[in-house]
């Protein structure tokens, strides 16, 4: 799967989880910039991504993922 495609899917999942309608995200977007992206919402996002892509993040990845770009990169490693 292409990085672009992964980004698109991740974007959709985050938009859906946070009810952001069509507010576009970038690789630099992070929980810090988006008010609704709190720790509770983050659990739902991570869970949905794991379900969608069919793998589980390593704990070390969970500790270091800060931006959408970090998430996309981590997913790439698991593909």
């Amino acid at each position: 799967m292409h990085k672009d495609q992964i980004f698109q899917t991740v974007q959709e999942i985050i938009q859906d989880a946070l009810d952001l309608e069509n507010q576009p995200l970038t690789l630099a977007s992070s929980a810090k910039d988006i008010e609704r992206w709190d720790s509770v919402a983050n659990i739902g996002i991570i869970m949905s991504i794991e379900q969608e892509f069919g793998f589980k993040f390593d704990l070390s990845e969970l500790d270091t993922m800060n931006t959408v770009g970090d998430i996309v990169e981590a997913i790439e490693k698991h593909m």
Binding site: D16, A17, L18, D19, V40, A41, I43, G44, I45, I46, M47, S48, Q51, K56, F57, L59, L62
Partner: protein
């Protein structure tokens, strides 16, 4: 979205967007009952609340939540907590798990030391329950203990008292015993739930390390579903009647084509034994008080023949009503609800045919329709699990009433037959040879009274719901006038069927609650209750009785009830509420003429 659909499916909801949208739709339903639920967690509970709200909305309850801080379940109860005091919970749920056991036996503990540790752990929880009872007077749902994720002692962990597995099992026995002894304590069996989901799903290490969640996030919907089933039962909203198809549901094959010899039921083949096992499970439901009905596209004669199969565990007399004909099932189900006089939302429909399920879903959205599949099977071998895991027949206690319920409804059918023989309704009532027992609330009836306040919708003047401790408090208050009525007739005992609760202020009695079970409609039991109320009011020096009718979509039946009793209208409020007055004087003559009355 049909009501209770979530309970009828085996897969669970996890996607946040999906959950959010479903909740939005479900919260737009009319007649949601608000309940204030305090969730006190020993681990992170956000996702539990999120899922629980969904499942509760799905069964007609709009939860208002109080959530404790992370792992503060003990402190928030034991120490001053104005936030929780102000919240005034209807229910406290303690989501603790084996992980919250602060002191466990160690490998050098002696047998006596294990006893002490066990006692200490147990009494910590007992203190919590006592404190909740004293402060909030509400029911408690308490998790028992899940199997630990790992076993340093291997298999011995479950048998050696120093093993944590063995320790949690001993605690679980203590919790079960406590629940039998305390009316307000309900155990949520996460030990069983964890095994059902599979320990590897229940204990998800990354959910724990990253988010401090137990169970794992993927298992949370199952926890919420199980919990919602118990909460629904606690508030008297559990389903009451199971409506079953016959062909390929209670036996394999088509009775009309294959004949009694041809259908698959018994022990001869794998399929036949699976159908028999399903019948036996249903029989067990019936024995604990679930009403059974048949709704099948068949000639009635064939339906009976099938049920009389030599290996049948469910001969025809197990069913309160058998509708076997060629009319649409939705019509038959409506007729079943009417015949046994319960709401369509108390029915659960089980049919192997997806087309029939769809029609019932569309035509009678209140009725729960089971999807007879699981993640493991989509044939008859999935039936029991699909029904069992729906949680629709969850119960918090088996009352005497439950065990007798089938008799009541069968007797109702007999009464209906008798009525046909009389042209004069009064003669019919006399022929029933009814005797009423009327008395003040007594301890053995408090549970039944609470149950009635929560599930009676039609003959209910104010539709105020009470909890057990509230009913208890009312009986202890000398300014409350409380009456119950039981009714017996030649066909049997109808049990406790009517309740009146009123508040006395000087010479005025205001009726806060008056309800009667639909079992005994049109029997003059309401007049008998009123006669008793007037008599008791007279004794207490009451000069006038004030009655209020608060309309709901279901209680139109009693909108002019006070008028028929002889009350005069005092006030008509904008919300449709009416207030009525009745003068108590010596001229009152009893209105009931068909029921013999005995005072308890």
């Amino acid at each position: 979205m049909n009501k209770l659909d979530l309970f009828c499916q085996s897969e669970s909801m996890t996607r946040p967007g999906v959950v959010r949208k479903l909740k939005k739709t479900l919260s737009e339903q009319a007649n949601l009952q608000e309940k204030r639920i305090a969730v006190l967690g020993g681990s992170t509970t956000n996702e539990i609340l999120n899922q629980l709200e969904l499942y509760l909305l799905n069964c007609g309850i709009r939860p208002v939540f109080y959530e404790s801080d992370y792992n503060m379940f003990f402190e928030e109860i034991m120490f001053d907590n104005p936030r929780l005091d102000e919240f005034k919970p209807d229910l406290v749920y303690i989501h603790s798990t084996t992980n919250n056991i602060k002191m466990a036996p160690s490998i050098d503990s002696t047998d006596e030391e294990v006893d002490t540790i066990l006692e200490n752990t147990y009494s910590q929880f007992e203190t919590l329950w006592n404190s909740i009872e004293a402060k909030y007077g509400c029911a408690v749902i308490q998790n028992n203990f899940d199997p630990p994720p790992y076993r340093p002692l291997g298999n011995l962990d479950g048998t050696d008292r120093r093993g944590l597995t063995c320790f949690t099992r001993e605690l679980n026995f203590r919790f079960a015993k406590a629940s039998r002894e305390r009316t307000g304590l309900i155990i949520h069996d996460i030990d069983r739930l964890a095994s059902e989901i599979g320990l590897n799903n229940w204990h998800d290490p990354s959910s724990w390390y990253a988010y401090k969640c137990i169970p794992g996030l993927k298992a949370t919907p199952r926890l919420a579903k199980s919990l919602a089933g118990t909460i629904r039962a606690l508030f008297g909203k559990a389903s009451k009647c199971l409506v079953l198809d016959l062909d390929n549901t209670l036996w394999g094959g088509i009775i009309g084509d294959d004949g009694v010899e041809g259908i698959k039921l018994g022990r001869e083949t794998a399929e036949a034994s699976a159908y028999l096992a399903f019948q036996k499970y249903i029989k067990a439901l019936k024995e604990r008080g679930i009403i059974l009905a048949v709704c099948s596209k068949n000639e009635k004669e064939n339906a009976i023949k099938g049920l009389e199969h030599p290996d049948s565990a469910l001969p025809p007399e197990n069913f309160t009503i058998i509708r076997a004909n060629w009319s649409p099932k939705s019509e038959n189900i409506a007729a079943i609800a009417q015949a046994i006089n319960i709401d369509a939302d108390s029915l659960v429909f089980f049919d192997d045919n997806p087309a029939e399920r769809e029609i019932v879903r569309q035509q009678i959205p209140e009725t729960a329709v089971i999807e007879p599949t699981t993640e493991f099977a989509s044939d008859v071998s999935a039936y029991i699990a699909a029904l069992d895991r729906s949680g629709l027949f969850e119960t918090v206690r088996i009352s005497k009433e439950d065990l007798q319920r089938n008799e009541y409804y069968s007797a109702n059918a007999d009464r209906a037959e008798l009525q046909l023989q009389y042209t004069d309704y009064g003669d019919y009532l006399d022929s029933l040879q009814m005797t009423a027992e009327i008395g003040f609330f007594a301890p053995q009836y408090l549970e039944r009274i609470t149950q009635l306040t929560n599930k009676t919708n039609q003959f209910n003047l104010t539709t105020i719901r009470y909890t057990l401790p509230e009913i208890q408090a009312a009986t202890d208050d000398p300014n409350q006038l409380d009456l119950y009525g039981r009714l017996t007739d030649k066909f049997g005992n109808n049990g406790l069927v009517s309740v009146i609760l009123g508040q006395q202020e000087g010479e005025t009695l205001s009726i806060s609650l008056w309800l009667m079970s639909c079992r005994v409609f049109k029997r003059e039991m309401e007049l008998t209750m009123f006669d008793a109320l007037v008599a008791e009011a007279g004794k207490r020096g009451i000069k006038k009785i004030i009655g209020t009718y608060a309309p709901t979509p279901k209680n139109g039946f009693v909108s002019d009830f006070y008028e028929t009793l002889g009350f005069t209208l005092l006030e008509q409020r904008e919300n449709g509420k009416t207030v009525w007055e009745f003068p108590v004087d010596d001229d009152y003559s009893n209105q009931n003429t068909h029921i013999k009355v005995e005072y308890a």
